[in-house]
Amino acid sequence: MDFLIDIIDTCVKWIPGWIVNPSHIRAFYAESLFIIPLMPLLGFLINGFFRDKISRGASGLVASLAAFASFLWAVLCFHACRGHLPEFDHGAGYLHRMLSTEPLHKVYGTWFDTGTFSCAFGLYMDQLSGVMALVVTGVGTLIHVYSMGYMAHDKAFARYFAYLNLFLFSMLVLILADNLVLTFVGWEGVGLCSYLLIGFWYEDGEKAAAGMKAFIFNRVGDLGFLLGIFTLVAAFGTANYYAAPHALGSYTLPVVAPHKSFVKDSSKEEGKREVVMMPDAPGLIDYADGLKLMGNADAKVPLGYKADGGNFDLSKTAGAKVFPAGWTVGFAISLACLLLFIGACGKSAQLPLYAWLPDAMAGPTPVSALIHAATMVTAGVYMLARLHALYLFSSATMDVVAIVGGTTAIFAALIGLTQTDIKKVLAYSTVSQLGYMFLGAGVGAFALAIFHVVTHALFKALLFLGSGSVIHAMSGEQDMRKMGGLRKKLPITFWTMVIGALALGGIVPFAGYWSKDAILANVLAKAMETHETSYWVLYLFACVGAFCTAFYTARLIGLTFFGECRASDEVKAHIHESPPSMTVPLIVLAVLSVIGGWWLHNDLISFLNFGEISQNAENEHVEWINLICTLAASFGGAGLGILLYISKVFVPKPEESKNPLVRLSFNKFYIEAFYDRGVTGFFSIFAEALHLFVDVLLIDFLLVNGVGKLVRGLGGALRKTQTGLINVYATGILVGALAILFYLLKG
């Protein structure tokens, strides 16, 4: 109760000033960070426990209000996080002032403590997690509202909203957690919700199977994630990102004190010891910063990494017991980052673990928009950005990230070219855009990767919601070849989706252009600096991917909205514009997709300042060359798409195509066939062998039936001794008594 009274006291005391300058009550906001995830949790509990009693309207309202309250509180906390500036600088722009932020950090209590390793329930909001929380709760709220319209005819209305709120809760835990273990809890939570919502219509076996597929693919990644956490804990003895704030709630910088692990012995050179100052109980990022300081701080390292603090020998630390002799911190970090990246691949649908995301479209469309486009699948990018200080130590891992990201970007874009299901096109586009995010992170532009997360969340949620509106109007039809000519009948959906398509295609003033163009510029800069062929190839991939993106987006719009309506008469009769609860979120997202990129591009990148590594495209050459390339790719792709599908309306029949390239793309490069036949086949044979040997032979034959038969046989033999003659029994009693007597008297 004291705690509550404190909060109320603080509220009352500071309300006059809280909007003006919330930094005064920073402690209060740090204290109350938990409200952000708590709201959706409450919504989940209400909808979950009372799902049979609550009315449909109330159910949707509770869930949407929970999401909106969470969003509001995230805005307030984000506001508090921006820090106090003595003079209000009108020229610098709103978000620029956030450069001087201090994060909100609150440790609520110990989760478990095993002597050498302890883990706390702590929430942490800095620029990065703040932006992510705003995206998740903001887009989440819109999608909740949209769902009230979209799911209006579904019988499991409350269950749907319960899952949706549980997802928001898990995602916020993932984002706001102050340590990797708690992040992992959220990570698993969103995986669970994803599974539940993909298989939401579980009566349909295919949809239930798609849920399981997503879950299993994620398991593979999660194993990597878990091993990565173990590696980091073994090397550093902590899973926290940052040192805990010293006095709980008061926002002072951690006390800086020398830490024994980071005494660098350079006595041979200068006869003195350099000491890197570290806070008490440092977190992973503190260690990474310390290691960076230990490295040659003066050397100008172009893209921020290759700091040589990573040469620190692990044999002097507690990690010596775990790691092989001769391992350095750099090796351990590389291993951990690689393992964590496997987790990111699973969650964010990168090669080779991408195959679940297209199947995840079996879920309700708002779910695809929220979980499988805007928020959950970006968790991998968020994790990379969160741990960017560690990733920067491992140039090899960064290369892997860039290569996987770039390859996925073009690979998924090529598949997207020939898909005919409207949601599948968007799904492959999501995989492709996630690839761009990883490509950006891989070349060190973490801020741009997060910027792309934000813009992508806006326009991809818009596109998915728009496609949901189309599917709603078409009575559940998802095949674009049976649509067409919808622009007259669904004007709001049409115009908002066109805006989304322009943003996705990277056309100039729309959101997608700003982030994708900047990522490509960084790739080009990296290629020019390193002169490595692989980066030139990646840049080429990214440009071709951008071309394909613009093309398939134009194709999607053309097939859906232009030409003659190819639906059956029965479906045609039902076509109607969606209710306001669906169109309002579309309009909001469309407005954001128009202005979002332009509005945020300078502020957000400098605001998400990850040290010296955010923007490297200072070279004018790079910018101009890149601008020409990306604009050529975007406009070229869009132009070709318009030519083929809007002015002519060519209805594709990819399954009948003789063109080997079309066949390759339509059949997803036969990768899924390989998974189905090769991997699944292998495991089926393996499972069959195990079934025959273990189940049939060992368990059924030997253990279950064997024991049964043994007991029956013994019983049958012993049964003969039961003669039923009382004299025989009496003899037995006598003999037994005599035996006992003999035993006792024998002494």
């Binding site: 049964r719 039961q722 003669t723 039923g724 003659l725 009382i726 004299n727 006598l734």
Partner: protein, 133 residues
């Protein structure tokens, strides 16, 4: 003094012989008890008539009772073993208990036998084997 606690008479005449006949000898009592017990046990084991078996059980109980009172009598003379205390009348009391138990057992046993006989018209154990196998 021998184990019975009686003085050994150096010159035993007729009177002494008669006195010896009536004097208490634990070994003889126990031998008698064992003999009766064995007879009873044999009766239980060998006879097929439940009634006779019940009688044999009574015989066995009586044998046990005899052993109890004999020990009690001997203990009066011998005194308790070193470091132990006991009631001198313990054996007799136990005998009374056994009488009570035997009475109860006879009542219950006979009731069962009679009930069985009413149903099956037999008290031969060779016919009473419904629980066989």
């Amino acid at each position: 003094m021998d184990v019975t606690g009686m003085p050994i008479l150096a010159d035993a005449g007729l009177m002494d012989f008669v006195a010896g006949l009536f004097s208490f000898k634990l070994v003889s009592c126990l031998a008698l008890s064992a003999a009766i017990f064995s007879i009873g046990a044999m009766g239980v084991l060998a006879r097929r008539n439940v009634l006779v078996m019940l009688i044999s059980v009574e015989v066995m109980l009586n044998a046990v009772m005899l052993a109890f009172v004999s020990f009690a009598r001997a203990m009066v003379n011998l005194g308790p073993p070193a470091g132990k205390t006991f009631a001198a009348e313990g054996g007799q009391i136990f005998a009374l208990f056994i009488i009570a138990v035997a009475a109860a057992e006879a009542a219950v046993g006979l009731a069962i036998v009679i009930a069985y006989f009413r149903n099956r018209q037999t008290v031969d154990t060779r016919d009473i084997k419904a629980m066989r196998n």
